[in-house]
Subunit: 370 residues, 2 copies
Amino acid sequence: MHIGILGAGQLGRMMAISGIPLGMRFTMYDRGADVPGAAVADIVTGAFDDLQRLRRFAQRVDLVTFDWENVPVASARAVAAIAPVRPSPRALAAGQDRVAEKRLFTRLGIPVAPWRPVEDRGDLARAIAALGVPGILKTRRLGYDGKGQARVRRATDADRAWQLVRGQPLVYERFVNFSREVSLVGARDRAGRTMFYPLAENLHVDGILAMTRAPCADARLQRGAESHLGRLMAALAYTGVLCVEFFVERGRLVANEMAPRVHNSGHWTIEGAETSQFENHLRAIAGLPLGSTRARGHSVMVNLIGRMPPRRSIAALPGVHLHDYGKSPRPGRKLGHLTYVGASRTVRDRLAIRLLRLAGAGTRSFRPMC
Amino acid sequence: MHIGILGAGQLGRMMAISGIPLGMRFTMYDRGADVPGAAVADIVTGAFDDLQRLRRFAQRVDLVTFDWENVPVASARAVAAIAPVRPSPRALAAGQDRVAEKRLFTRLGIPVAPWRPVEDRGDLARAIAALGVPGILKTRRLGYDGKGQARVRRATDADRAWQLVRGQPLVYERFVNFSREVSLVGARDRAGRTMFYPLAENLHVDGILAMTRAPCADARLQRGAESHLGRLMAALAYTGVLCVEFFVERGRLVANEMAPRVHNSGHWTIEGAETSQFENHLRAIAGLPLGSTRARGHSVMVNLIGRMPPRRSIAALPGVHLHDYGKSPRPGRKLGHLTYVGASRTVRDRLAIRLLRLAGAGTRSFRPMC
């Protein structure tokens, strides 16, 4: 089976690495040829709104999926006229606009933080007055890794925040005073059967995911998150892997955002689960039965951001696995990740601290997980 | 680091799949371009004795290793004049001639079955008279997967055996009345440090490896095999992964043959060990510290020979991993393998029987392992 991927970043690269042993081959579409996916796939270059090139790309493959969730929906629809696109352009659209996403969550009974759409400076003042501070002013579209966001700690921060992100549709969200951040990765096959990984707990530093630990052994949270994700997948007639990030506020799940694709907080599944999120995404879109999502131990995943530690230091840590995305270093850029699977939480957490240090992420926020 | 591999079969393919996440890139040399490695590497095509093309290939890479142990030693030497070749051409040569191999084993105190070189029909008669029957007449060079071998059950089989393999240097070996076949995969880094995987038990059907189970929990055999392999690696100043297959005859190890490369009986390590044989081979030749060889449970690996079972049947078995080599089916050809890692030997063996059936290998010879 010949899989096309829109986007050829690290997610596409890891998808191909897990799909090639299944007998699949890959062609990826991206703006340039010097991309992480190039090591494991043919690359077609073109703009993401060049419908003619996208159609030619679609003609080469059996079905198409995403490495990047911000592919224009019109482009996904043009591709879908030629080859099956999974998840569907409709599911893709649902995650591209924070307002549409929050409305969908609310309609499905998935709690979200209080929010207001913001079109102008007056909207922002009214939103702050109605919802209070602290809060976050976010662009409705194209935000990731903390980009397109401005904090509003006090009402007097409003002007600075406005200047930072103005000029596009925005949303003001009241800050959730969370005790933990968790995410649930699930897969839904073409027959509507679902499988969920154990909840993972995330640590963000400066808006970028620094560390994920799994499984988070809280049966009540797991049930709640699975119920939310299951309803969301059913509502979107979803095929593939879907991730929702949640805050935990006084023991209650509050949805932050969804990603209609494999997710950074699921990278631990490569070594840490019986079937990785990448393989399960491919199984789902290829019409195969899903694989076991059982955890193989206590996992930690630490992102390598901005610079790569010496390979020798990584290789010297027993049981630690490097995933180098083949990208050139740049501040704030995700260059790779490290994984470790331990026999207990204690052993895992001991390694987690070493990995955070090696990654230069600091360990101030480190504490036992759920 | 840019790794060159001589040969682009499934071993090279799996090596690249494990090395790309380490940030390595791969170029492979083989006779044709339609090879398993093509999914994950650039391919340079040429004959294995075309020294000019081989030299150009070597100029493109940082160091060179093998997917195929029968690369002519003169070719390996020509390449070594341009780029480091690991393991060395000398180590490669040691495994290419059964007589040289047996002499080396004997010199190092590694037991082998009684044997005699055979140049003509008279030699064969004298060898049978001296060593007895049953025995096996083998070509000294280029044998694999049971090819280039003829059984001599009774003295009257000698003529038929001679006709089957005559025309090249041969060796007659007395048949070892073994209770088990095991193999040890070990790695040696550039500083001479060694790591050994747990012994694996192999089941051959018609001369081809059908199934491997690991770990084989026999501490005495493990110690003995490690001692043999360690001496062999030291004698060859070896860098990389090396495998020796042994018979177990009345509780005693008898070496059958060595392979100066990753080995089919080590494929279980991809899911079943903390670091796979492929990653450890790459770590060794790249000058990185070796990774943990600890088993992650009780593994079985079943080869898919001649035909691929339906993908849906494979995917429906929880915890089973497919490794498709991307080859077109042909009787007797290794097309892929399946792996399963279980929590106990009982659970693993239950799956092993299902996998053998799925692979069409039959289960007549199945019994509890060491």
